[in-house]
Symmetry: C2
Subunit: 354 residues, 2 copies
Amino acid sequence: MSELKNDRLLRALLRQPVDVTPVWMMRQAGRYLPEYRATREKAGDFMSLCRSPELACEVTLQPLERFPLDAAILFSDILTVPDAMGLGLYFEEGEGPRFERSVRDRAAVKALPVPDPEQELRYVMDAVRTIRRELHGRVPLIGFSGSPWTLATYMVEGGSTKNFALAKSMMFDQPELMHALLDKLARAVTAYLNAQIAAGAQAVMIFDTWGGTLTPEDYREFSLAYMQRIVEGLTRESEGRQVPVILFTKGGGQWLEPMAETGADALGLDWTTDIGEARRRVGDRVALQGNLDPCVLYASPGAIRRAVGRVLEHYGKGTGHVFNLGHGIHPTIDPDHAAAMIDAVHELSRPYHS
Amino acid sequence: MSELKNDRLLRALLRQPVDVTPVWMMRQAGRYLPEYRATREKAGDFMSLCRSPELACEVTLQPLERFPLDAAILFSDILTVPDAMGLGLYFEEGEGPRFERSVRDRAAVKALPVPDPEQELRYVMDAVRTIRRELHGRVPLIGFSGSPWTLATYMVEGGSTKNFALAKSMMFDQPELMHALLDKLARAVTAYLNAQIAAGAQAVMIFDTWGGTLTPEDYREFSLAYMQRIVEGLTRESEGRQVPVILFTKGGGQWLEPMAETGADALGLDWTTDIGEARRRVGDRVALQGNLDPCVLYASPGAIRRAVGRVLEHYGKGTGHVFNLGHGIHPTIDPDHAAAMIDAVHELSRPYHS
C-alpha cells in the first residue's frame, strides 16, 4: 500500500495535533456533482453503480478531483447488509429504497443469515481494494455501515417509512423479537466493517440515521447498545495504524455523553447542537465531527465563509475536530459552494492549531 | 359563559395541585376518527372545514364525545394567518399546504398586511365563540397559532419543504429581510392569539414545528426571540382567570432552558427528551406537556399502558405535568388505542398527586 500523504483526518479523529482542521462531506460523492450523474447514467441504476467496484471507485474519487478534501468515503449504500441477507434491495425512480421481502415475524428473523462479507458482499470489499489502490495514499479511505436499529427499520417496514409504525410496533409489542433481529444485525455489521478494514478502510463510521426517532430510553436499549457491541468487536489497528471509529446518530445531540462511553473515537454531530457545547460535554473522551447546517451551502460564498468561521470558533483551539456538514450534502447544491466551504475550513482553521 | 367544570388542564399548566394528570392529544380532532372523516367529507375540502365555525366546532367536540379528555383544542390550521395576509392558502389532495403567492423579496414582505383578526380571521374567532358555547364549560378550550419562524418557512417556500432551501437562504443571505418578515408575523400572531383569548380561548399554544431544523444560534435569533415577543404581548388574564401560554418547538429538547426564560407557563416536549430530565433542567419555572412517542399508539393496549406509566414515573410526583403525545396523533391510529392511553393517564397518575 502507498504511504499515506495526508493523515489529518486520522490524526484529528484520534485527537493528535494537525496543521489545519480536516474536512470532508457526507455524500460528497453524490448527485450534486454533474460527473457523478454522468457515471450513474452509465451504470444504469443505483445498485448497479454500487455493485461495480470500478464505477464505485470512480465516483468515490470524483469529489477529490475537484476539492482538496482530507478523506475519501467508500461509495455504497447503507442497505447492502440486509440485501446480502437475502431481502432483495431495489430502488424505484424518485422513491426511497425498497425490499422485496420484509422481516416481520420470528420465522423471518430466524431465517436471516449473517452474510460472509467476502462472499455476498464481495463487491463492496473489491470496491474498497480498488479505491485504496487508486487513491495512491492521497487521503485516507473511510468505510461505513448503517447501524443495526437503522437497518432494522428498513427491514421491518420493507423500505423507507415516515412513521416507523411497524418497526416501533415490533419494538413495543415484541421487544425480544426486535432484540433478536438487532443482535443478528450487530454481528453482521461487525463482520462487514472488519472486512472493510481488512480490505483497506482506514477509519469506519456507523450511520445511525433513525436512532434520533426514539425516546432516550429506547435509544439506549435498541440503538446505542448494539452500536457499542459493534465498536467492541472492531479491529482497531491495521497496517500499523489505529483505525478510528466514528458514531453518528442524526438527532442524537441530547445523548452525546452515553455515545462517548461506547469506546468510539469520534462522534458525528448534526447542526442542532453547538459544537463548543458538545466539546465541553464530552471532554477529551472523543473527537467531534461536524456540524455545519447543510442548508448553509444554499447561501452565498460570503455567508458560507462566515458560517464556517462560526463553527470553527465555537469548537475553539486544538485538535479533535473534523469539519463536516451536519448531514449529507443536498443534491441541488452548487459544487462551487462546496468548494467555498472546504477552502474556508482550511484557511480559517490554521490559527486554531498554532 | 358557563362555569368551568374541569379545570385540571389550567391548574396543571400553572403548576397548581390537581387530582390526576390532565391529558389531551395534539390533533385529537383529526383523521384517525371516522366521525372526523365524515364531517370533512361533508365540508368538501379542508379549508372549507376550517372556515365553517359550525363544522370546526363539530370536529373540535368529536374527540370529547369519545374520550374523557381534559381539554378541547380549536380545530384550525396553522397557516390561517399567512392566508389572511393574502397569500392564498390551498391544499392539494395528498400534498401538503400550498400558497398561491410566496414571499421572497423586500417588496413582498413590505406588502404584507397585519390582518385584523376580527375581520380577515373572523371565521376563527366565530369558531372559538361557537365552541365555547357548545362546550358548556366541560373542559377548557385551547387556542393556538404557528410560530413566526414556522409560518415564515411556508411563506418563503410557497408551501411545505423538505430542505428549507429558500427560507434558510433568505436567513443566511438577507437576515434583515427575514427579520422584517418575522417581525410582521410576530405582530400578526400576537393580535391573532389575543383575539382568540378575547373570543374565549382559555389557554394558548404556539406551535414551532420547524424551529428544530435550526442551529442553536439561529433558533434563538430567528425563532425563539419572536416567540418571546409574542408571549410578552399576550393578554394573560381573561374571565377572571390566568390564561396559560404553552411553547412547543418540535426537536427543541436541547433548548429548554432558554425556552423557559421567555415567560411562557409551559413547554411542550417531543418524545426525544426524558421528561424527568427536562423537569430537573427547567426546575419550577414552567410546567411540561408531553411526551409519549406517538408511535406507542400503534402498539397493543398493554404496551400503551406500560409506556404511559413510564412517562408518569419519569415526571414523578406533584403537579406541573400535562400528558400529551410528543407530536400529533398519526392518522392511522385505532381510536381504541387513544382511549387506552387516556384511561391509563387518569388511572395511573392518581398516586403521583396524593
